[in-house]
């Protein structure tokens, strides 16, 4: 089990390095961005392995990524967008989209609905996580530093 987790971590590290090249994240942003992304995916995998609920797993990973990116954007004084996007990308249910359309075209209505539901649920729950954390950060900012806003 620890070996599997390590392998997942390394695979997601590979993914985030690749995406950081595509999105031109470099310099001081690189290390926090790729580690946030791969830790987020590892967290999602771990939760899913132990408790077996893919939605809650994605929710927790989304929250982690959002908190990570908001914190590092304040530490490094840079837009949080770069961290957030790199972190969210491994979580995006690309496989679900593909399977849904494959099932639709092949005429398996029941499987299409099942995978479509799951895809939509994961996408919405990641969105919800980001939305909640982002709003909480804005709220904290307005409560503790009201002059800046």
């Amino acid at each position: 089990m620890p070996l599997t987790i390590l392998k997942e971590f390394l695979a997601s590290l590979l993914i985030s390095i690749g995406f950081s090249i595509q999105f031109r994240i470099k310099g001081r942003l690189l290390v926090p961005a790729i580690f946030g992304s791969s830790l987020g995916w590892t967290l999602c995998f771990l939760y899913n392995e132990i408790w077996g609920n893919i939605f809650i797993a994605n929710f927790i990973a989304g929250c982690f990524v959002a908190i990570w990116s908001e914190s590092f954007s304040r530490i490094l004084k840079t837009p949080s967008t770069s961290f957030l996007i790199l972190g969210v990308i491994p979580l995006v249910p690309g496989r679900g989209i593909y399977l849904t359309f494959l099932n639709i075209v092949e005429g398996n209505g029941a499987s299409a609905i099942k995978s479509g539901n799951e895809t939509l649920g994961i996408a919405l729950i990641i969105a919800l996580a980001i939305l909640i954390i982002n709003s909480l950060f804005i709220l904290f900012k307005q409560v503790f530093y009201p002059s800046n806003s």
Partner: protein, 289 residues
Amino acid sequence: MQKQYILRENVIKEMYNKNIINKEQIFDSANQKSYNQVDFSQQLIDLCLDFGNLMLESGAESSRVEDSIVRILKSYNRKSASAFAIPTLLLISFKNDNDEIITTSKRVSYIHNDFYKLDQLSNLSYEICNNENISLEFFQKSLQHIKVSSEYRPFTTIFSTIIVSLGFIYIFRGSLRDVIGAILTAIVMRSTFDFLSRKRLNSLFINLISSFLGGIVSEILFSINIVDNPSIIIVSTFMNFVPGIMITNAIRDYTRGDYTSGTNKLIEALLIAISLAIGSVFARILLRG
């Protein structure tokens, strides 16, 4: 007048080192007063338009663009400054000292993602807002400097696509034989995508065609028995093209109440994802019947 000048790892330091600017050019209140007031406003709004355009192009969300522009205008003491940005349009207006409204707009058509540029731009706006009387000359030179920052060669993007696909092959539990298929599919998809992107075609068409060709390649490899799971190969390659940036930015726009630009991006992201899926599914249906 000399405020504390913060040298961070950013554009300005780089420009110092390359001798593009010297320190006298950064703060000169004398130069600003010598401007005709109208000329100054015109130049300022042009620079702000350029700034906002670059920011939108490099993948910032609308509220960030609006905030930065308004803050820059306020730091130059412009009254009733306002900015409006959606992914395809940028509008800026303010009043100059004679209470004349100056306004301008720009249609933004091309969005690519460059977070290094975005970081530099946000540093620049930070410098401008935290120091009084930054000269327009400095503003302009920094923008020029940021604009020409390096582009990657085609080989680098193809290499990064391959890396990402290999990572996803492991995560989706593909076999070892799928690796070679993933490399070939990634090369085909990325080169098609880059080639068509340079022609500035419709992004839906670009995604449809590149995922279709990728699907064809992986299905052919499957039919001559080189790979085991063509669908895993397809999925792990097309994760490269999934519009994660648009989805994330759309959510962040919704958080700030920018429903226009949020919906704009969300619909585009949804259509791109659908066209990717349809392209590869169509390839599969075509070759397997």
